[in-house]
């Protein structure tokens, strides 16, 4: 639990994982390279006291996750951004099946995202329907950089992607998280741009598109799109991790997002376990935009804006009544443990 201005804040970590990046799960050299690259991100932006050894980073336990998010990390709920990477990891990296084990254990704590891949073609429609029927799938995480059968990426504007988005409509899935971020592969397909979001957002105005990592390193392109499209949201994962070691950049990113996108359309995310939410949430709660940026952009990161970003915006997207949800969470095993600690 964290307070801003004396008021308790409901925190939804909009972007978190429970992965298996251990050597036993590496399918080939890509698996090793993948997890090492993640670890570079971890080292690059974590404050010293939050750095993990590589062994733990490759595969952490349920207990680690529960502690890092809920017991110590000020997080009330987390959104599982399932990531498959089956061409790199034998059992997948963090599939919805893997994540479901935790959802079963703590059903009120998590929002489970599934996925689709247009390269499955029509043959994948049934698999997709079954996934939504069998699991409590409430959103999707799309990874346009995923490798599949020799192809190394796809676009949200591909005709087959549209067929799947139509299926989302039919099945009542409204929130689509899309990875648009640093480092990952695809060749000229979309390595440098977020414009496919623009097409999909215009053509599916009833779906919400949460652009994870705010398109970094394509923040500017993302801002132009999000400004125009009502249903495009900014997912702060990766950007939020700048807050400790590069606060000025973080402030500039926030000033831009507040100006172009607005405080109602920004969602907090830690990208756990690349970074642990504790230090990010704490720093965010006390963060002040520097005066020159406030002046220049005419925006401010007010306590109200912080509350929206940390949880209220995500709660609205997922139809969560915060008061009712808090009451429920106080009763689950984690809530009871937190209650006991506080007493």
């Amino acid at each position: 639990m964290i307070t801003i201005d004396g008021q308790e804040v409901f925190v939804i970590d909009g972007h978190m994982h429970f992965w298996d990046g251990s050597p036993q799960n590496w399918r080939n050299q890509w698996g090793e390279a993948w997890i090492k690259c993640f670890y570079d991100y971890h080292l690059a932006l974590s404050p010293k006291e939050a750095v993990w050894p590589f062994e733990k980073f490759m595969k952490y336990s349920v207990d680690d996750l529960v502690r890092d998010l809920f017991l110590e990390g000020h997080v009330d709920m987390g959104i599982f951004n399932s990531t498959y990477l089956r061409e790199f990891f034998t059992n997948g990296f963090n599939t919805h099946e893997q994540n479901y084990a935790l959802v079963q254990q703590y059903p009120d704590r998590f929002i489970l995202c599934g996925s689709f891949d247009p390269r499955w073609g029509e043959a994948g429609f049934d698999t997709f329907r079954r996934m939504v029927e069998q699991y409590p799938i409430r959103g999707l995480k799309l990874y346009t950089a995923e490798w599949y059968n020799g192809s190394r990426g796809w676009k949200l504007s591909d005709p087959m992607a549209y067929r799947y988005l139509e299926l989302c409509r039919e099945l009542g899935i409204k929130n689509i998280h899309v990875h648009k971020g640093p480092t990952v592969y695809p060749l000229s397909k979309d390595a440098f741009d977020v414009h496919d979001i623009d097409y999909a957002a215009t053509d599916f105005p009833d779906l919400n598109f949460i652009v994870e990592h705010v398109g970094l390193p394509r923040l500017d392109d993302f801002c132009w799109i999000a400004k125009q499209e009502k249903n495009v949201y900014a997912g702060l994962a990766v950007a939020s991790a700048f807050i400790a070691t590069r606060p000025r950049y973080f402030a500039e990113i926030m000033a831009n997002l507040l100006y172009w996108v607005g405080e109602d359309k920004i969602l907090f995310g830690s990208d756990y376990a690349i970074w642990t939410p504790k230090w990010i949430v704490e720093a965010f709660a006390r963060f002040e935009l520097p005066e020159d940026l406030k002046q220049e952009y005419g925006v401010d990161l007010t306590p109200q804006a912080k509350r929206k970003i940390l949880g209220e915006n995500a709660a609205r997207l997922y139809g969560i009544d915060i008061a009712a949800q808090k009451a429920k969470l106080a009763q689950d095993p984690i809530g009871q443990q937190l209650g006991a600690q506080a007493a």
Partner: protein, 284 residues
Amino acid sequence: MAHTAKSADKPCARAVHRSTLVTRTVADPNGKDGPMEQSALWAQLERVLDPELDESIVRLGFVRRLEQDGSSVRVVLRLPTYWCSPNFVYLMADGVRRVLTELPGIESVRVELEEHFASEEISSGVTSGRSFRELFPTEAQEELDELRYRFLVKGYASRLLVLVQALRSAGASDDELVESSLGQLEHTGDLAWLVLDDRRRGPVRGRIVERYLVRRAELGLPMLPESPLLLLADGQPIARERLTEELRRLRATVVNLRASTALCEALLHSRQQWWQSERKEVWR
């Protein structure tokens, strides 16, 4: 090397930094390369930019080794992540080959990538002068000129904004900025001024002006003395009433470049650890 990249933020560290970089990272096993030639090679490499960051690959610390053997040069690049997008990597590697073969006496250039998932394809492809589409026929849908242009424009935005900010803090008013022409820039040594009828604004660092002018010329924008001082990338002058809004747009691009650069520097620094520890190759 990350420590050199970090110091690139500090202007005063630059001159020193460049010469230390040469002596520290040039491998010269035969001892027969004169320092003049080596510095000529490095000077050429300085011109190769990371297209996305609009910064020299030398300043960013991506050049790991530079070896010359007669007319052949071998350059090893180390990038911030294993997953850097191949199109950007190709642009940099091909840039290295191009600038070095421009030097008299250099006939062949081998560019190698340390630990990148497409090391093989890009190294051998660039060395033999093949195009990006030839290297990745099923995935690359266009050649890279468009991509290169897009990032030249972003870099221009950044350079334009830096110039405006420098001149503003040296006392130039917005009216003076939008009404001035290129011919009013006075550039001597490391310093530059904006010359008005009765006074001059400045000084600002010469490099700021230089970077702006170089990129402006690369984009084919008017360079005549009477051309407006400030031009958008599409060649339009900035109207006084549009200035604030245009600067805000430029600003988003610049924030992006800086944040990306900061991230790349930090990642490159983190990557050092894998070379220091023994590599386990478990999957074999």
